[in-house]
Assembly symmetry: C2
Homo-oligomer: 216 residues x 2
């Protein structure tokens, strides 16, 4: 089982909650939809939500070439990318033991602008197919002008970890006798029926990508 | 209508997507569950998911007093707090116009440890009731030892903005004639039936807070 090396950047303080297994980290990245990307801009922390894609151990972001992130992050600056899945509200008998069940991946690395057009196109396919698996092949192909307007950033992963909590509330031993409810409220992120565009051409059906996403 | 002042820290580049109205910012903070909190630690950006609470314009975080965030953020350091609600997948006829519908609040400010026990307790009530409205009053009251073990941070909001996208895909004019499906897949975050703790006392019913959360 391949793992990320544990070091000061990614060591999870609570050993029972940390996981460095690559397959586990990848599965959270694949299930998440939006990453929160942190970087330093003019000496201050900035956190922006972004869609993303993964190709093996490579992590990709994209955006308009003119946007703040591309200017601030394009030159090999350190970034921290966090993807969080919220699985439930943990209701303890005391407020002190109320909590969340979650899975959260934190990546540290350097972001750099992708210069190679072939790599940029593979990355954009990965980002599109992460948002909606299979959509890249269904879409009208990207044209030169669009590729030029899009900045693609590759994050070389230096360190990564998965932190997770699951299961019931852990109350104080004496609190289990209290007449207070405790338990877990499971949370899920669900898709509902797709809303077709008002200007769809006649006879165009809902594609496989959308059908699969709604069933998931 | 009260608004946050617009300055270099919070100006949204795309004017059609930016909103500085306090009530709009607050409503996203109130609907979100987890904030992604960015700070600088040893010269690098760090982004951690955290639950939070709001009391008027005051934003509160909490955690174990021993945790990294409290040590790194307790002394009036700049933080960036981002709360993102993902409302839908926007499916364009081209990959270039695939996108997300979302509402995202970014706060900039300084975090400082709350020293006043009364303010700390009000903040912890706000955090608990943000996770599950009404839970603070239902829970076994916090005891001195628990309050001492908990660090509460107040973020003084210097700048804030809401950025949002909604509505259908905006495709290239010539792409509307293509026989390619486009539309929006709405996404929602839902709670399912609560799972009672295995050690519940007999006759303890599901409380109002949990019932309301599941119905929401």
């Amino acid at each position: 089982m391949e793992s990320f090396a544990v070091g000061p950047l990614n060591k999870v303080r609570r050993p029972d909650r940390g996981n460095y297994d690559k397959a586990a980290v990848h599965s959270v990245l694949d299930e998440g939809l939006v990453a929160h990307v942190g970087f330093i801009d003019h000496g201050r922390p900035v956190v922006v939500p972004m869609v993303y894609g993964r190709v093996g151990d490579l992590f990709y972001l994209h955006g308009a070439r003119a946007a703040r992130f591309a200017k601030a992050m394009g030159a090999g600056v350190p970034v921290c990318v966090t993807v969080t899945l919220t699985d439930g509200i943990v209701v303890g008998r005391s407020a002190f033991h109320c909590s969340m069940n979650y899975r959260s991946v934190v990546l540290h690395g350097e972001a750099c602008l992708v210069g190679d057009p072939a790599e940029a196109e593979r990355a954009l396919a990965a980002v599109t197919d992460h948002l909606l698996p299979g959509r890249w092949a269904e879409s009208r192909p990207m044209i030169e002008k669009e590729l030029r307007a899009t900045a693609v950033l590759r994050v070389e992963i230096e360190a990564a970890s998965l932190k997770a909590r699951s299961g019931p509330a852990i109350d104080e031993p004496e609190d289990y006798e209290l007449p207070i409810w405790a338990g877990v409220i499971p949370l899920r992120f669900v898709a509902s029926a797709p809303e077709g565009d008002a200007r769809l051409e006649e006879g165009v059906d809902i594609p496989a990508s959308v059908q699969a996403r709604v069933r998931r």
